[in-house]
């Protein structure tokens, strides 16, 4: 039971973070170029 609750929480957090990731624009390349973060794919 406790195991399932932990797994449930982990999955919910993963879903929230994944949504956040895509809402931010996805990978660094798509975000544009922030000189402080120096995304490597900035062209």
């Amino acid at each position: 039971m406790i195991e399932n609750i932990i797994i449930g929480l982990v999955v919910v957090v993963a879903v929230i973070l994944a949504i956040k990731y895509f809402r931010k624009g996805g990978c660094d390349c798509a975000k544009g170029c922030d000189p402080k973060k120096k995304p490597p794919c900035c062209k």
Binding site: V15, L17, C29
Partner: protein
């Protein structure tokens, strides 16, 4: 003492070494390349020097400040609207005349300029030298000789930028400008007078706007048309243009360009001197071979093959080591964590999935190393030249090769963005459609996994053939698009071939690490998250174990009855005709989020299917599990890879595609539905033909 602020724009021709100087000035690691079009967006960097806090802005490389391509508009909008304190015009000394053409236009924007005269060493290899003092006197502004890739002259440049009172000095010493002759100058004055009277045009330098109107610049015309006195200004412009045409017998834009080139040419003749001793210039010698009409293409193919042969030969032992490491991790956590869902999440989900992706990290690193070597040497620009003829036959522009190469070297996202360097909208659209067909860094592990599993004996050759296939698919798609929805002829291809130089080890390692780090970062973030979600999808709802079945059989029942298992049953009829079974389709669907997830999903799926830790098979590398699975065959593996090549790119690339195509739904639908349909049809044909001919079944 309070720091003074300065904003400095870095302008210059493509491949003049702007990004290299930007990196040297700011200590950034922006991507540089020995080919034009590396910078397609503004980039910011900071530097403190002599009590000044300087913000440097790296602008896209342009040959002029017209309004023909997005990168030119970005550069000139920055100068006009953001009003930097000064512009550092990076000039390639070995191509002074052409580079000064851009200078003549920046000059008209009435902004202080410092010339960074780059690549003076290359000029010397041509037996020439630049008389810096003479050039500075002629242009009426500071000229700093620089060798960007060695960092020579960077401090002098910073000193000049922050020199006390130099802005005032510039104001007191008017800069040299192009003499357009009495007739054109009179017409410019007439327009200037009208522009001066229009308050809404106050932000634009009046001489620049007048010349741009005479130049028939569409954006300048639009700016003028939107004002209250727009009709009057445009009417005068029409009269002035007609007058110039009648007087000179050629259009105003041609005459203006002629005067600008005349200025650039006379400055070049005066400032460039011949050296007594000429160094040997290797560039024309190598070019005679690599650009030879018969040898060019075979050499390019050989270079690509060499990249794969090198990558596989060097990385295989390391990939094996990584795989063994993740096997050990799997065994360790199986023994440490009590049996149950958490153990399964860690071992089957995270180690089986993410470990599967990370195992290929050494291969990705070596691949990037090899590509960076050829990129920095100057060869890749030649590759675009060699490919131009073929590209043209398929309706693509020669420059399209570069975005395709950027997609191959790293990611389709910067590849799509790099199409901004293409002047024609049609060429841009076609290139945006075909760039995602290339095997990007994220698709690479899928290909390496399947090639390693089913064609272990000939990995380099099969990988090379897969790359050739990706190019063929991209070319065919371009041909279909240009014969149907994007009809028209590609614009003429003019591209500068940079001189060859031996790449620095630091430069290559830096690039290799930057791209490699991106791979790790992605594996450690979004791929972990998606793997957890997909693992749960295959693991829930949990079914009760049947004591009459073996652990493996129970695991298979669990997957079949899970959420994703049920979904795969629904999809199965669609993918069965192309030889892919339903559960594996989940990997393809998950791959739409990020292509590496195809590998991690297969890793999780196979780990879940083999639950007995005593069974050696359970902890073996994923490629062995695939090779030993009777559901797979070499033919099915090829069909799976072909499907991966053609079906829509990841969601981030699709979003960027949508944005870059001007948010047009029709292009988005064509990309998503068109690619899915094409992927299915081609996979179906290959599978049926292979089955019929009994090839790889």
């Amino acid at each position: 003492m309070k720091e003074k602020q300065l904003t400095v724009g870095l302008a210059g021709n493509p491949n003049s070494g702007k990004s290299t100087i930007f990196n040297a000035l700011t200590g950034s690691n922006q991507h540089t390349g020995n080919y034009p079009g590396v910078t397609i967006e503004k980039k910011y960097g900071h530097k403190k020097h002599n009590d000044y806090s300087i913000t440097f802005v790296d602008l896209p490389g342009t040959y002029s400040l017209s309004a023909y391509s997005d990168d030119e508009i970005i550069a000139r909008d920055f100068i006009i609207k953001d009003k930097p304190d000064l512009i550092v015009d990076v000039i390639d000394a070995s191509n002074l005349e052409r580079n000064l053409y851009l200078f003549t236009q920046i000059r008209e924007l009435n902004i202080p300029i410092v010339i960074a005269l780059n690549m003076v060493d290359i000029l010397e290899t041509k037996g020439l030298s630049a008389n810096v003092k003479k050039l500075s006197d002629l242009l009426g502004l500071p000229v700093i000789p620089i060798v960007g890739n060695k960092g020579t002259g960077i401090n002098d440049l910073l000193d000049t930028i922050t020199q006390t009172g130099w802005l005032e000095h510039t104001a007191a010493h008017p800069l040299a400008k192009v003499d357009y002759g009495t007739d054109i100058a009179n017409e410019i004055s007439k327009l200037e007078e009208l522009i001066q009277k229009e308050p809404s045009l106050a932000e634009y330098p009046k001489t620049w706007l007048s010349i741009k109107l005479l130049d028939n610049d569409p954006i300048a015309i639009k700016i003028a048309a939107q004002t209250l006195s727009g009709a009057k200004i445009l009417d005068q412009n029409e009269k002035s243009r007609n007058h110039i045409k009648e007087h000179f017998g050629e259009s105003a834009e041609a005459k203006i360009a002629e005067y600008r080139y005349g200025f650039a040419s006379s400055v070049t003749k005066t400032a460039i001197e011949k050296l007594d001793k000429k160094k040997i210039d290797i560039t024309p010698i190598i070019d005679r071979v690599v650009l030879n009409r018969f040898l060019g293409l075979p050499i390019f193919a050989a270079v690509m093959f060499l990249i794969f042969a090198f990558t596989f030969t060097v990385s295989t032992p390391l990939v094996d080591l990584f795989e063994q490491f993740f096997e050990l991790c799997g065994t360790f956590f199986t023994n440490v964590i009590p049996e149950g869902q958490i153990q399964s999440l860690v071992v089957d989900g995270l180690i089986g999935g993410v470990g599967g992706v990370l195992s290929f990290f050494p291969l990705v690193l070596f691949m990037f190393f090899a590509i960076a070597f050829f990129e920095d040497s100057g060869y890749m620009a030649r590759a675009a030249f060699v490919m131009d003829k073929i590209m043209n036959k398929f309706g693509l522009h020669g420059k399209s090769f570069l975005p395709m190469m950027i997609s191959t070297n790293g990611c389709a996202v910067p590849g799509i963005m790099a199409t901004r360097t293409l002047d024609s909208k049609r060429d841009r659209l076609v290139t945006m459609f075909v760039s995602p067909f290339m095997i990007c860094g994220a698709k690479l592990p899928i290909f390496v996994l399947f090639v390693g599993a089913f064609f272990a004996e000939h990995q380099s050759t099969v990988m090379f053939l897969m790359y050739v296939l990706s190019v063929c698919i991209a070319l065919t798609a371009a041909k279909i698009l240009t014969k149907t929805v994007l009809k028209g002829e590609p614009a003429h291809f003019v591209m500068e071939l940079p001189p060859y130089h031996i790449p620095t080890l630091k430069g290559i390692l830096l690039k290799m690490w930057e791209r490699g780090w991106m791979y790790i970062k992605k594996a450690g973030t979004i791929i972990v998250l998606l793997t957890i979600i997909l693992w749960a999808g295959f693991r829930y709802p949990a079914t009760d174990e049947d004591p009459n079945l073996s652990p493996d059989e129970n695991a298979a029942v669990q997957i079949e009855h899970s959420y994703l298992g049920s979904l795969s049953t629904v999809i199965e009829p669609l993918v069965k005709p192309i030889g892919i079974d339903g559960q594996k389709t989940i990997a393809l669907i998950a791959g739409l989020a990020a292509k590496e997830v195809v590998v991690s999903t297969l890793g999780t799926l196979y780990s879940l299917g083999e639950v007995d830790p005593e069974d050696e098979e359970a902890t073996s590398p994923l490629k062995e599990k695939l090779a030993n699975d009777p559901d797979w065959s070499p033919l099915k593996a090829i069909v799976f890879l072909i499907f991966c090549l053609i079906y829509p790119p990841c969601v981030v690339a699709v979003t960027v595609f949508y944005r870059e195509t001007g948010s047009k739904i029709k292009w988005l639908l064509l990309l998503v539905l068109g690619n899915t349909t094409a992927a299915w049809i081609i996979s179906f044909l290959v599978f049926r033909l292979g089955t019929l001919l009994k090839i790889g079944v």
